[in-house]
Assembly symmetry: C2
Homo-oligomer: 648 residues x 2
């Protein structure tokens, strides 16, 4: 499928100041084939999206729209005040998925959902079921928690998905999103009001890019500039919760509610790139970089607190109470992607890869119809199984659930999977960057070099070899293929025309490949120990194991006798055994039964009896698919305990 | 002051089945003198209680009562729906304090507060400002969160304080509490309803004890028996949040909201003791014991979660996000005290001592007018100072605050301090147990032995000597003085008539002391290292230092150059130096500046440069009194890091 030209809806000229190092691949540049991600994407279309549509109905989210029209008193709005947004995220996912596959069933789903939504939009473009109707609070009467702008943002992103997959303003979803966006611009053009949950910012810039209409960019910029001056109330968690404590261009680090902080960062970067605002850009890049260095889990997960779903202090990264909301992982991918394009620094691709495998892919069940909301790195007590027909009120301490009272994560997963191909490549006038190693085909029109067609064959990350076949290359122009070499990877090699050489760090650039040639990139995925910064108190004396981009974990179900993994420790000096197909470390099972139940603090270290036992590890992204378990990513080392004992 | 005889309000006979090993000292048996606790108690009366009365007015808690009478539409109820309870807790504190000192100003305070409260009570004894009035939700329409029974419980406890300090049903506060209790019995005698927040149970048993009226005991028993059958809604945190998941006599461990769990435990023990219900008693003792062994901080603090103010899983005890609500510490003292009396096991006195020093005394500022709500064991970033006129919406991440949106802790502290003397001794027909070593005088009438008068002189816990002068002892009867020997104490000695001997473990019993004799108990308070159970992941490779019953901590303000205590580690092998008057350990300051800001996880352990530096420690109960600091109780040991590095 080729993109149709987009009719600019309002002929405001694009601002000429846009500054970015790389351009994103077009939506149809990459088609995924069978493999880790291609399979998940296919499952998303076949299982996950229908599951979500079912739950939009079952949970009453869709009935909220019907009720506005059918019941003048509007009794019984169901769910959170921002539940409309989940309908819009499913619409967005359907739009990307239809763009990808042209499956008419998906178009029918879009039509059916829109039939319910469209009658609710007011004449002036206001659209919300929870506010502004008889029996409901007034429009914009609760800027802290009402989330009307957040909902509008998600609706607009659904419209953007249509615009970017070949539709124009004749499409009902595009038309609706434009009406909503115009209403937002009209209602919030003047004044200093902002919404409690950022999202509208990134949506408006995306709409600007898709339409060329500068008012959307101006409005996004206004929302970014207004934030940080204490316009919102000083709530229980402080104004840092919604980043209204410090102006965006003054802050040093991401803080407060992680999803809010990351959506805001994505929107602010977009504004900075389009406006050529290097001060704003540097500020947000600095904030994200510091959050990456000091407030991010080994999984790429962000947000340490359950209470306020927030980043904690620097190095406050408890594994058991890690929140690591799935949506925060998705938002971090959004931010890293924007920074990659703007700076041309492919190391942001490492962050994306880590987060995609260890948060996004982790969140969904093997069957595709249950989800983690939080992604902790340790499960202490056997978690509960959630029946398939139950919507979970909780964000943690149970296995994946079919749905949630706040069901933000499942449709966020789906819209990400449906547009996943857009994260695979970027390009310039004469180069393509291959950023994620997913099996599939790539076709890009380079403005200064012509058409490039590539085919990627790989079983990565389970296998180290990535084969890139050049199916079409410019014959008379110089062009370049950039390959991201992950920072975790030692000894990566590159084979071109059977000549093997060591790949450089960071990025390997190959010039002038011709049609019919192929490249084999070998990224050794041997398991390796990883050590935490000593300031991360919560995992002192522990190691983790990674294998390629996959963080590994120990699940009780894999240990001899189903041993609780709270009672193991590993001997790092003996290395890692992966000769048997499974990844195993040399460990000991502590016999804590020998310790009587007593006060847990004593004048001498307790040195438990222990017996040797291999500890089997499996990818964290697969955990919790075999019933209740205990699980841990960070493995205590035996040296810690023993030397602790000997120091007296 | 001697107790007046209490007129039994309803002449229902006491049930004869009461089973308890020890009887509590009467309220006026112990008078504290100057010293750690006597000074705090005096400050409580002089500073803290007036401060709280001021804030009851300033926060609008008292105006809520006025409004019921003055505004028929009752517009503008202020604060949480259970804010009445804080007025009642202050009333209770005033009642105990008046009982102790007979200060007429305190009686005037009681009268003034009661003038505001009394007009609100309904004809049938219902008393609440948030429910059951025009413009407010109906009575008992929200059993999960309405907390009407919780408020009634606190009002009843204020009445009990009056009954136990010499008043009878002629006293307006006693009369009010009886009306409220009778209403509760009438409204909840039948059916299966329970309140979301236990408290009524313990209050009703105390009222039964003070009046002899069995209906109060029956009602308390009914509330205990009804809990655990899922009568309350399945809220976000699950029914374990309010202990409605498992019947009280079936549960294995305290769980859910810590204050709720502990108030319930206190009430259930009271019911079990009065009913001679050994099954119920054993169940609650087992639950508390397991919570002590597996879910309690070294400070005695309970409750690991901020989100739901709940116990976590076994050994889930993060120091930085420790919640350890002050009220949970107080409630734990209540439970341990009841278990001590019922079982005669003075080791529960160790728990009380630990919790009093390290939670209760910690919660209040040196000046007596600001409070910690949460009591974390680590402060990572400099905490915020709270202005004195600001009510804090938050429970953490700042220094002590003058008041809180949910102001449960300050008045709970005050009622505990005002009745503190009641935790000092217990007795039998012919023995006295000296449980807490506080300077003061003791006078108890032993039914089988006669009057005993003791005077305790000590600067404990800053000094190890506790001198006990026998000012009056039975001349013709055998009697016994039991002295608690804390489990933390090694080498305690006892000197009677200048003969020094090693004290036995647990309890030292001295028989037949005569008038004029004295005993010197020496409890060496040398600082010592304490090691955590290896299952407490969050403090692996760390030690703490205790000195007597005091947990010590490192504050940045005490370190050379104000070093952030996140960057220190200690060498346990070199011991502890307290020769200079200060407690110091041999440490190193890590130079993390040498590490560039980068991804926090790497293939080899980062071994920072470090320079030798003594680490000065001070009592945790005094922390946060000198402006913003970083602080830690658990100190990483250098052996951990180094050997972690060498194991590769």
């Amino acid at each position: 499928m080729k993109r149709k030209a987009v009719d600019a809806v309002e002929p405001t000229p694009m601002k000429p100041v846009r500054q970015t190092a790389l351009e994103p691949g077009s939506m149809d540049a990459v088609q995924l084939a069978n493999g880790f991600w291609g399979d998940l994407q296919a499952q998303n279309a076949k299982v996950t999206l229908p599951h979500e549509i079912k739950w939009l109905e079952k949970s009453g989210a869709l009935a909220n729209f019907d009720r506005i029209c059918e019941d003048p008193d509007n009794r019984g709005h169901v769910g959170m005040q921002f539940i409309d947004s989940d309908v819009y995220k499913v619409l967005e996912a359907l739009a990307w998925e239809f763009g990808r596959t042209q499956d008419p069933g998906l178009q029918q789903n879009i039509d059916t959902l829109l039939e319910r939504v469209l009658p609710v939009v007011a004449d002036d473009g206001y659209l919300n079921t929870a506010f502004g109707h008889p029996g409901r609070p007034a429009r914009y009467s609760d800027m802290e928690w009402g989330h009307e702008l957040y909902c509008a943002g998600h609706l607009i992103q659904a419209g953007v998905a249509r615009l970017r997959t070949g539709f124009d303003s004749q499409d009902p979803l595009v038309a609706l999103s434009l009406r909503v966006a115009d209403h937002v611009c009209a209602a919030f053009g003047e004044g200093n009001r902002i919404g409690g949950h950022p999202e509208i910012e990134v949506a408006l810039v995306e709409l600007y890019r898709a339409t060329g209409s500068g008012r959307y960019l101006d409005q996004a910029k206004a929302f970014v500039d207004r934030r940080g001056y204490g316009t919102l109330a000083d709530i229980e968690f402080g104004r840092s919760y919604f980043q209204d404590d410090v102006p965006v261009r003054k802050a040093d680090v991401l803080r407060g509610h992680a999803v809010r902080a990351l959506y805001l960062a994505a929107g602010a970067i977009d504004v900075a790139v389009e406006e050529g605002d290097s001060e704003l850009f540097s500020a947000v890049e600095r904030q994200y970089q510091r959050a990456l260095d000091r407030r991010t889990y080994i999984t790429g997960g962000m947000g340490s607190h359950h209470q306020d779903e927030a980043f904690g202090d620097d190095f406050e990264l408890p594994p058991d109470r890690a929140y690591c909301e799935t949506c925060a992982g998705i938002a971090s991918v959004m931010v890293a992607w924007r920074l990659l394009l703007a700076t041309g620094d492919l190391r942001y691709g490492d962050v994306i890869e880590r987060t995609l495998y260890n948060i996004v892919a982790t969140s969904v069940s093997q069957a595709g119809d249950q989800f983690f909301y939080a992604n902790p790195l340790q499960q202490r007590a056997l978690n509960r199984t959630m029946p398939p027909d139950v919507s979970s009120p909780r964000a943690s301490s149970e296995l994946r659930a079919s749905w949630f009272y706040v069901p933000c994560c499942p449709p966020n997963y789906s819209r990400t999977l449906a547009q996943l191909a857009s994260y695979v490549t970027s390009h310039t006038a004469d180069s393509i960057q291959l950023i994620q190693y997913m099996a599939g085909t790539i076709e890009e029109e380079l403005s200064a070099a012509g058409t490039v067609k590539l085919r990627v064959e790989t079983n990565y990350p389970y296998d180290s070899a990535v084969k890139i076949f050049v199916e079409q290359a410019p014959t008379d122009k110089s062009w370049k293929l950039d390959l991201r070499i992950p920072q975790w990877c030692k000894g990566a090699t590159l084979s071109i025309n059977s000549k093997v050489e060591l790949a450089p760090d960071g990025v390997a650039s190959i010039h002038g490949l011709r049609t019919g040639q192929y490249v084999v990139l070998d990224l050794p995925v041997e398991p390796r120990f990883v050590y935490p910064d000593p300031r991360i108190d919560a995992v002192r004396g522990c190691v983790a194991v990674e294998k390629g981009p996959l963080v590994m974990c120990a699940e009780s179900v894999d240990q001899p006798g189903g041993t609780d993994v709270g009672l193991i420790e590993v001997d790092v000096s003996r290395g890692i055994d992966d000769t048997s197909g499974a990844v195993q470390v040399y460990g000991r099972k502590l016999d804590m039964d020998a310790r009587p139940d007593e006060w847990a603090y004593s004048g001498s270290p307790f040195v438990p009896e222990a017996r040797q036992s291999m500890v089997k590890l499996s990818p964290y992204c697969c955990w919790g698919n075999r019933g209740p378990v205990t699980m841990r990513v960070w493995l205590p080392t035996s040296s810690t305990r023993t030397s602790g004992g000997k120091t007296r």
